[in-house]
Symmetry: C2
Amino acid sequence: MPDEKKPAFAGNITADDVAAEAGVSRWTVNRAFRKDASISSKSLEKVRIAAERLGYVPDLRAASLASDRSNLVALLIDDFANPHKLVMMERLTRILRREGWDILLVNTLDRADAGHALLNASQRRVDAVILIGIQFDDEVLDTALHARRFRKLIIFARTSRNPNTISIAVDDVHAMREIANYVHERGYRRPMFLAGPRTSSAHLLRKETFVDYWRQHFGSEPETVSVAAYDPALAAGIVEDALMARTKATLPDILVCENDALAIGATDVIRHKLGLRIPEDIAITGFDDVPQAEGANYRLTTYRQPLTDMAEYLVKVLGSEEDRDFDRLFAGKLMVRDSA
Amino acid sequence: MPDEKKPAFAGNITADDVAAEAGVSRWTVNRAFRKDASISSKSLEKVRIAAERLGYVPDLRAASLASDRSNLVALLIDDFANPHKLVMMERLTRILRREGWDILLVNTLDRADAGHALLNASQRRVDAVILIGIQFDDEVLDTALHARRFRKLIIFARTSRNPNTISIAVDDVHAMREIANYVHERGYRRPMFLAGPRTSSAHLLRKETFVDYWRQHFGSEPETVSVAAYDPALAAGIVEDALMARTKATLPDILVCENDALAIGATDVIRHKLGLRIPEDIAITGFDDVPQAEGANYRLTTYRQPLTDMAEYLVKVLGSEEDRDFDRLFAGKLMVRDSA
DNA sequence: GAGCATTTTGCACGCGGGAGCAAAATTAAT
DNA sequence: ATTAATTTTGCTCCCGCGTGCAAAATGCTC
């Protein structure tokens, strides 16, 4: 046995080894590592010492296999160009971990790939799937839900009409009306709405709400432009195309953006390609309140999602055994800065 | 049995069920789902059909338990304020998944938490740990490595002197010299170096290299300023403090930043708080080439890391059974734009 | 078509630990 | 001290699949 020299790796120390070392049975060892277990403080101590000495940690694969609870959730994400994703991930991962959930991260390349991503997750027997991406059509969701390979499918920061999913999101309708009112109050009259990609399963109601509300309350029909992804660089290109050729009179006086990713791209191009000032020549609003929105460069008027509250609610939902309707909308907060 | 109405969830369909359905043995079913397996195309087809009908997918927990290979790697990350992290994650997750690796994402809160994060990973019996965070001191690494709970510990985008880790990174020394030469060639003579936090285990050699090289080759000693995290907002504050009170004559003529996160924060504050022009009043260089560095707003002169090549090399290392020194440095590319 | 090589299939056993119950030990009550 | 109530411990059986080998099936040669 030539490779016996270096002690392989210590993953193979099992509860049996610890049991022998501590002079108790294997089951007592395992109990020592479960929080609910009924165990005497004496043997708990013995086990702790023995485990420490041997470097034992319970194997969660085996525990999961036997108990049919993995304490694992899959986080499905795409759309890596959107800086808000980083914020969401930070918040979710921190809070999930605090509550004892491990995270399987799956990068969903595109719509066609979503099915594979879900399959991936189900093979690890995750307890729940959290979607913070957008590339899911209803067909994929239905397939996944029909197979029922996980207990919960949570759509985070998007609303969904699918009755079998749990949607935890900010109240877009309420938010967008607040933005519309604010925009109108500040005297803007020719808004243009900059929208992201339209998806069928994980919605945002921002564009629809803004356009309908503006039409109904302020009489005019806002222009709308759409970008194929929440990517500042892409948004910059689209906005340049849309505004470049215009005379100042035909320019919108404000660009209402579906989120900050778009707003940031728009800001850059308006300043540096069109040579216009913000907000004097054209104002801008965003949505999400990403970190850079607050920075000296953008000073973006935007709408903050209560991500921490949403994540806290998410872990509560994850922990719940009930089988009720967990959908919930949160109220955010309009952050008024200099851009509008 | 009241909860027998809705078909629970289908995770509990096992290879035995498929075997019965297909008229073969359980082992044949499992073989049908392994890539190496020796199986006749006839029974493969039978199994596929039966599995399809029943909605069976193999349980990777069990497979991993039995084979002692989890096909799981842990990705340890902190430092979520740095936009480059999003790029790294996108690249890594995409390429790892393409090669069949699943990813356990662990948000490492701080230095003290790193041990727990590693423990987390080891309980899932990951095959390898990838660090793309920085909050690791040598003590934690040594403990982890001593316990040898995983086969490989890879430090991505950082160099490490620890002989038991695998470091895959850009060649900072080479890169920084190139930057120093470029800066000097362009006529800058009073550089200030803006550094990030200093850590003991996962290094960057940028500051040391730049300062030493500049001193040796160009005679003067560059000022240096340090920021506690790679966070644009933090960097902005530090730069403001460092430069605010100065007269134009005592200002550095270029700010050489350890990475783009710092450069971006610095750019914002220099333009909008100090009211200076870039590069006319003060130039800036970064490192990493994050997406926004290319955008119209920053046009940042920076150094691109070959992330794709690095990630491809990483999966090659992961797949290798050899036990040799896998450390490797990559050459990047100076991206000259408008900021310097 | 017999005889042999080669592929395919089935099987006992093991991976590490959980659920639930019965035996043992401890504590409380009389 | 004795019995009953309670806690702790050990144990059997199982979770779902891989390993390595033996049995069965198939292919090949002459």
